[in-house]
Each structure stands twice: as C-alpha cells, then as structure tokens.
C-alpha cells in the first residue's frame, strides 16, 4: 500500500483506484511532441493502464534512450523516477537499476532506431537475460528526432517523403524477441487504444521482460500516402488476433471468465489473461506456430496485433542470480562488510 497522499477529491469526485489515486496522479509533464504523434497515444494508455492496475507510483522507474519516443517517460507517472540515458543503451540502464532494487516496477521506452540499430546488442541481451521490465518500442519506421531518416524496421521499398527508397529488409523486434526466448511478446497499434490498454495491464502483472512493439505513426516524417507506417496504412492492414481480457490477481475471485472458445493463461501471481481468438488457429502459447504465422502475415504486408507469444514461466534475472529478497541498494555495512577475522584468514592464506 502506498503511503503517498492521494490528491484531494475534486467536485464531482474523480474516480479513484484501489490505492485511492485518481488518474491525475499518474500523469507526467506536458508532452512536447508533434500534435498527433503516435507516441502520445501510447503515453496515454500507459497512464490509463497504470491507474487501472493501481500501480504504486513510487516503485515505478522509467528508462529510455534517445529519440522522440525516448522523451516520453517524462510525460507519464511523475510519481516515479525517470532515467533518460544515451542512445541505444536503455536496456543496460534498466538492468543495473533492476538488480540494485528488485522491488522496482521497470518501464523502458525506446524507439525503433534506438532499439533495432544502435541499441540492437543491448536489446538482444536484455531480452536474453529476462530483465524484469516492460520494454516498449515505439515503432514508426523512421528516426523522428533526427528528422526522418529510415530506421531498421522500415519496410523494403518504403518511401521517405523526399522520395528516397529503402532497399533493405526490415528487422522485426517481435519474432526476434520470440527467438530470444522472451515469454511475453506483443504488437499493438497506437491507434487501437483498447487493445494496447489490456496488453499493458497484463504486462504490469508479468515478472520478466515484456517486449511490446507498438506501431506508432510519425505524423511529421512518415505519415504520407506512400508510407507503410501511416495511420491510414496501418489501420487498413491491422489484423487483431484476438479479443483480450485481463484479470488482475486481486480480482480473479470476482470475475468469471466465460468458458468455450476462450483460452486462459495464468501468471505466477495469479493474474489471468483471457484470449478469445479472432484469427482462427493462432495459438499464442505455440512458439513455432506463432513465428510461422507472423512471418506469413508480414510477407503479405499485414500487421498481426495482440499477444503474439506468451509463456509466463521463465525466472527473471534477480531470481536466476539468487539474490537476497531485500533490495541490494538497502543492504547495510553490517551485512556487506566482512569481519576482521575474515580479512585475517585471507591474509594468512596469502602468506
């Protein structure tokens, strides 16, 4: 239970969550992105999902690299600590802090440039280590902040506004994450807030690395008619895989999940994700089947969105390292500093 003071009720009283906070308690500073930027829509859903999931703000840490997308941690949850680092290195920042304090709720925000080019190495290794974090890639196919150059997720044959054509094939963060053993891989569209909201709530309940690739149009540099990342193009090619429901562990007793065509995945904390298939035959617990379906749809220029792969069983890094339960950052000298007898024993051995 948070000890922070929830904001005084307004008139009429703003709705509060289980911690007594209003949605206003989850907002950040004012966004400085272009009006209509997909990234702002993602920020809005992070705020909603955190509010609805009654996330304790003081435990939240927000990490990012460099880019328009990487600025957004300043725009949500001012109750939490932020660390806007250097280009492509957000994952190592999340790694160190999450090891220092295993009670933190870690949210990393990155861009397609930040993660799939300069930061590819760190992305790959953070996923492989299963850092406890929600890793959001705000994917617009370009480098927004440096004025619209292609990124490594740009489709082959895609056009820039200037007419320049991308000759190289795209890297897909989602199939890559599945390949790397990630246990929670999802793709969303910033223009489909409901789906993003549900997936974010499920992500908050997940223990290890969540890789969430959100197609997020750049209205300034990549929203033209020939773009494959424009609002219109993505809307027309978005194929939601399923209707998702998320039930937090605390509500599991009260909510009845209809039987029948709905598959239920249960997390270690008891939370449940209910998956009602739209795309027939897509099973998000089947790793190789999922890979195959995603590849096939990409070849057709479609975006399969939703929970692409789920397997909530892998232990996150602090558990793998068998760390003490208490945050390392709060261990004190009495536990950390060996006694004079230990030093003496070591010195004797060196004589």
């Amino acid at each position: 239970m948070s000890t922070a003071t929830p904001s005084a009720p307004n008139t009429p009283a703003a709705p509060t969550n289980k911690l007594g906070f209003t949605k206003q308690d989850y907002v950040g500073s004012k966004s400085t992105l272009c009006a209509g930027c997909g990234h702002d829509a993602i920020t809005a859903q992070i705020i909603n999902a955190a509010f609805e999931s009654s996330i304790e703000g003081y435990r939240v840490t927000k990490y990012s690299g460099i880019g328009c997308s990487s600025k957004t941690p300043a725009y949500f949850m001012n109750q939490g600590w932020g660390f806007n680092s250097v280009h492509g290195r957000m994952p190592s920042i999340a790694t160190g802090a999450s090891l220092a304090n295993r009670n933190l709720i870690n949210i990393g925000v990155s861009g397609d440039g930040d993660s799939m080019s300069i930061g590819m190495g760190q992305f790959v290794h953070a996923v492989r280590r299963n850092i406890p974090m929600i890793y959001i890639i705000e994917d617009n196919g370009v480098y927004g902040l440096t004025k619209g150059q292609f990124s490594a997720t740009a489709d082959k044959g895609a056009h820039l506004k200037s007419g320049a054509v991308n000759d190289l094939p795209p890297i897909d963060p989602c199939t890559l994450a599945i390949e790397l053993g990630c246990g929670f891989v999802a793709r969303c569209f910033s223009g489909n807030p409901k789906q993003l909201n549900t997936i974010l709530k499920a992500a908050f309940a997940y223990e290890g690395t969540v890789v969430l690739d959100v197609i997020s149009p750049c209205v300034t540099f990549n929203n033209h008619d020939a773009s494959t990342r424009s609002y219109k193009h993505v809307k027309d090619h978005d194929f939601p895989l399923h209707d998702l429901g998320f039930v937090q562990y605390s509500e599991v007793e009260d909510v009845e999940i209809p039987a029948g065509q709905t598959e239920v995945v249960t997390f270690p904390d008891g939370s449940k994700v209910a998956i009602k298939a739209i795309h027939e035959g897509y099973d998000p617990t089947d790793r190789f089947g999922a890979m195959k379906a995603i590849h096939e749809s990409m070849a057709k220029g479609e975006f399969l969105t939703g929970l692409l792969y789920i397997n909530p069983t892998q232990p996150p890094l602090p558990q793998v390292l068998n760390l003490v339960d208490e945050p390392l950052a709060s261990l004190d000298e009495t536990l950390l500093k060996p006694s004079p007898a230990v030093l003496d024993e070591i010195m004797q051995a060196l004589m």
Partner: protein, 607 residues
C-alpha cells in the same frame, strides 16, 4: 654428462652477489612454467629475501615465447632490473636471441639439446638433460611437459643455495589441496636438485642466503588486492566484460564473493555479478545501479574505457556514482595487450566529450590497491560521480610482496542521500540544488515511498530541479557547480607521499613506477644528485602537489607512456610553471626500470 660442461667460470675478482640478482626464465607459454616460476619466487621469499616477479607473457593461450624475471634484493628494490645474472633457457625458439642479449658473465642454465655453449665465451654455461631427468622422475608421459619446468627449479635451487624444504613448502602452497600434483612436482624438483648435486660443481657468483626481511609479509597481485578492497567496501552490483589485464580482478572477486557474500540466513547472494555483452553495457549497469543506490563497479582496460566514454560523460553530468577500475595495458588500439603501460592517464582524467573532469585514484602498491579500492566506493557515493581507480598490468597481474592489509575500520560513507522522512521534511527540494555550497547536491533513490523525491534524470540540459532546460544560465550553473564539486574533491582524495632527500630538484611519478623511482633516486644520490620525490596518488591535485610544483626548480615527471600525458596535465594545470616539467618516459611494454630513469635525468642535468 657432456665434456662441454666446464665448471662455471667466475669473472675475475667479482664478489658474490648475495640476495641481489635477477633471474630470467625463457619458456613457452601454456607449458606450466608459471607454476614453476612462482614456486622459485616463493621459495626465495620464504628464505626471508625481498623478491619480485614479472611475467612477460604473449597474447596467446599456448605455444608462444614467454619470459619470467625474478629479482631478489636485500635492499628491497623490487622494480624490474634491466640486467640478469642468471638465465634459464627452455625455449628453443628464443634461445639464440636470449644468449645474444645476455649480460656478460651471466650463468646460463639451458636444455642440453639446444647446444648453446659455443655461441659466446663470456657466459657460464650449464647444460641440463631435462628430458632424461623428467622421464626418470615422472611415470606418466603425458605429464612430462608440465613437470619438466620443475626440474629447473631444482637445479637453480641447488646453484643458488635455496633450502629444498622451502621449495617443497612453496609447491604445497601453490598447488594447495591437490595431493597428487604436489607429489609429482616435488619429485621433479628433487630430481633436478639431486642431479645438480651430483653432477654440477657449485658456483659463487649469485647466492641466496637466509634473511628475515619477509617475515609476516604476503604475496599478492594488484587485481586480487583491488578485488578484496571492493569486497570489504560492500560492492553490490558488478557489470563487466572480460579483457586482459583486468579480468582477473572480477574473477578473483567472484571467488571471494562465493565464500563471503552470501546472506548467512538464506544462503542467497548479496551481490549481483553479470558478465555483460560489452563494456558499454557494463558502464550502463554500473551507473544505473549506483543511481538506484547500490555500490557498483566494473573492471576494464583501455579499449573498454574507450567504449564506455559516452556513458562516463552521462554519469558525470547526471551525477551517478560508480567505480571504474582501469587496469591499463599497452595501447593504442589492441596494442600489446599483455604488456604494461600508463598510457590512459589523459583518457581517464577527462573521459567523454564536452567538459568533463574525473576523480582518479592511483594506487602505487598492494596496500593502496586494497585501501583505494575501498575508498573509491565512498568517493563515488560522496561525489555522486564515476571514479576511476587506475592501475596497470604491472601492478594488477604481477606478484608483489606486501605487508598484510589493515582492516578498513572507517565506516562506509553513503553520501548525501535523503530518506523518506528527510524528503517529507524538506520544503523545496531540488535534485541539483547546491545547498551546502560544496557542489554536491542531495539525491533521492528510486523506490523511496512517501510520494516525494521522484525526479527525472536526463543527460540533456537541466536545471536545479532536474527539469529539462536549454536556458544558457541554467546550463552554465550546472557545469560551474560540477567544477566546484571537483574542487571540493581536492580535500577528499589521497594526498601524495614524499621521499625527500633534500633538494630543489623534484621527481614526480605515480602507480607502478614507484619502486624504480626509489631505486633511481638512490643511484642518483650516490652519484651526487639529490632529489625530492613526490608520488602522486590522485586527481584532482591536492594542496601538497601545488606546493611541490611551486617550490621545485625542476620537476622530472616519470611515467610509462610516449607522450608524457601526466606532464601534459601538469602543464595545463600550472601554465605559469610549464617549463619546469621535464618528461622521463618509458613505454616499450616492459615495466619501467631504475636505469632508464637515471639515464634520462642525468642527460637532462648535463644539458
């Protein structure tokens, strides 16, 4: 026995060098010679004689030439000595060249089939039938290669007069616990010794005579000493990436952590150690763990620091603590990865783009490697910034004798960190507000409950409240405060140490150059040139350094790099005295020796 084996000749009139000589052993790497050499070194040490060892090894796992020099010195000079009184030549590939370079009069023990005795007539040759001896002493042919080197330990012990009981003790110590290996090696050593007793006349050029100088001392390398410093400093997060000569620092730490860093109640670990994908990631882990309140560190060498430099600048500007060990090697680029140099002085002093200045610690011996590593964590948290502990391959990987380390009784200094209650009481907290006027601000740690203290850390322009700002006055206020903070550090870092013989001529050095400088000072004094010596132990320069620079008529800056990097920092810091600084340099990858310092200073003095 071959007919060529003449009694070793003794150069006319020279008296026996007792406890004052160097031995150079030439072998092939990966042949187990490291164990043999360490045993020889330890046996001399156990005889009570000051001794130091330098392993000149190749960047290769097996099959390339390697040399090990052992210096015994009654006077306690432990620097590398450029001349050797005894050679042990086991490597056919380098033997001829080793003979060509030998100092006249040297005793040469060599593998008989190499037939070296005709090459020069001013050396004393002792051929040894190693293969025959090893075959007779070791029943398992596949172990012959490994124990062959022990034979020369036996032969050399006989010639030097080392007590075989000490040799056996040294083997047991070196191979602790491995009963079979101990027995095998002890047999081989005895085989060499017995053969030499029977077949070789004694010599009296160089001898080891029992002394009492090493009682109660330890033998250790700097990486282990630093690892122990970090252990006692309570490091809780380690992110690292393997690189010679820095790997063994973390690897030794891992061994100690296995034993001493488990919670006694649960058996769980009180330290997270992660081998990262590269040094960039290591730096990220160190800084973010420090930011989140852990004591964090990494260990690397020049190439790693180059990679880390963007992050180091971030750490400096956002003010995140972390300890960065740089065990320096020979650059630039890959350079000579297994050779020593002090060539990252400027890199670590100003690592990263923009205006950056870092606190650097320069330990000069094993006790300081331990103590400064311990102190580095306090400094990192006190000053909320990356701290470099700069050693080098010579300190880090070579064997040094040392007094046992004193227990660090000083309690940890966790710096200016506000807890929940303090945050609740403060009215107008700003992450980067200089409340105390020392340039050091108060920070909060992520995860602190109470709804106060959260802030946004950013490597872009920010104001006192950690808000984004591009205002010129906000920018300047922050970077000027950082400079103030660096000024404050002058009264917190280790002061220099002096060895003054009474002179207005100064010698200034740091780190592993210390033993060579001391020896050079004595040689120069004996020749009539007295000097005052300041050993620098940290950046920024303290008041004692200012005073020394002002007072001396000339300052010889001794360092192990080509460009006189430390001298450059001095010229920049004290432009009014720029002409006082004269560079004395050594940079061939071998550890510095006294002679090169004496020669260069003498040349300057004669100008």
């Amino acid at each position: 026995m071959t007919a060529t084996l003449a009694a070793p000749t003794k150069p006319g009139g020279a008296k026996t060098r007792i406890n004052d000589f160097s031995i150079q052993v030439a072998t092939v790497n990966g042949s187990g010679s490291q164990t043999a050499n360490t045993v020889l070194l330890r046996a001399i040490f156990q005889m009570g004689v000051f001794v130091s060892g330098k392993n000149l090894f190749p960047s290769n796992i097996a099959g390339l030439p390697t040399w090990f020099t052992i210096r015994a010195s009654a006077k306690g000079y432990v620097a590398r000595k450029a001349s050797n009184e005894m050679l042990i030549l086991m490597n056919p590939e380098t033997a001829k060249e080793d003979i060509a370079k030998a100092d006249p009069g040297a005793l040469v023990i060599y593998d008989e089939p190499l037939q070296l005795d005709k090459l020069r007539n001013d050396l004393s040759f002792t051929p040894v039938p190693f293969q025959k001896l090893v075959t007779a002493s070791c029943p398992e042919p596949k172990l012959h290669k490994l124990v062959k080197n022990m034979i020369y330990v036996g032969v050399a012990s006989r010639l030097l007069g080392i007590d075989m009981e000490e040799v056996k003790k040294a083997i047991a110590k070196q191979l602790k616990g491995k009963t079979k290996a101990v027995e095998l090696n002890q047999n081989a050593v005895m085989a060499g010794y017995d053969w030499a007793m029977e077949n070789l006349p004694d010599q009296d050029q160089v001898k080891v005579v029992r002394d009492n100088k090493t009682q109660g001392l330890i033998i250790v390398d700097g990486n282990e000493a630093c690892a122990l410093g970090a252990l006692f400093a309570g490091v809780t997060v380690v992110g690292w990436y393997p690189i010679t000569p820095a790997s063994s620092l973390v690897e030794t730490f891992i061994e100690y952590a296995e034993e001493y860093r488990k919670d006694p109640k649960t058996g769980k670990s009180t330290v997270a150690i992660v081998q990262m994908e590269d040094e960039l990631a290591s730096a990220g882990v160190v800084l973010s763990a420090g930011w989140a309140g852990a004591r964090s560190m990494t260990s690397t060498a020049g190439p790693g620091v180059s990679l880390m430099s963007e992050f180091i600048g971030l750490g400096y500007y956002v003010e995140a603590p972390g300890v960065f060990f740089n065990v320096a090697r020979t650059g630039p680029s890959t350079g000579l990865p297994t050779r020593t140099q002090q060539s990252d002085v400027e890199l670590c002093a100003k690592c990263s783009h923009g205006d950056t200045q870092h606190i650097n610690l320069y330990p000069g011996n094993m006790e300081e490697c331990f103590q400064f590593s311990y102190d580095a964590f306090d400094l990192a948290e006190r000053f909320q910034t990356p701290i470099f502990v700069v050693t080098d391959l010579d300190l880090g990987m070579q064997n040094w004798s040392s007094k046992p380390f004193a227990y660090p009784t000083k309690p940890y200094d966790r710096g200016k960190v506000l807890n929940q209650q303090q945050l609740a009481e403060i009215k107008d907290w700003g992450r980067y507000k200089d409340v105390d006027g020392d340039g050091i601000c108060y920070r909060s740690l992520p995860g602190t409950p109470g709804g106060k203290g959260a802030y946004f850390t950013r490597g872009s322009g920010h104001n006192d409240y950690a808000q984004y700002s591009e205002k010129p006055e906000d920018y300047v206020a922050v970077v000027d405060r950082l400079k103030r903070k660096y000024e404050t550090a002058k009264t917190h870092v280790p002061k220099p140490v002096f060895r003054n013989l009474g002179s207005d001529k100064g010698v200034l050095a740091f780190g592993s150059s210390d033993p060579a400088v001391i020896e050079a000072q004595d040689i120069l004094a004996a020749a009539g040139l007295k000097t005052d010596y300041l050993r620098l132990r940290a950046l920024p320069f303290t008041a004692e350094v200012d005073a020394f620079v002002k007072a001396k008529q000339v300052v010889y800056v001794v360092e192990q790099n080509r460009d006189g990097q430390l001298a450059n920092i001095f010229r920049e810091t004290y432009p009014e005295f720029a002409t006082k600084f004269k560079s004395v340099l050594h940079y061939d990858g071998y550890a510095i020796d006294a002679k090169c310092i004496v020669d260069q200073i003498t040349a300057f003095e004669q100008k």
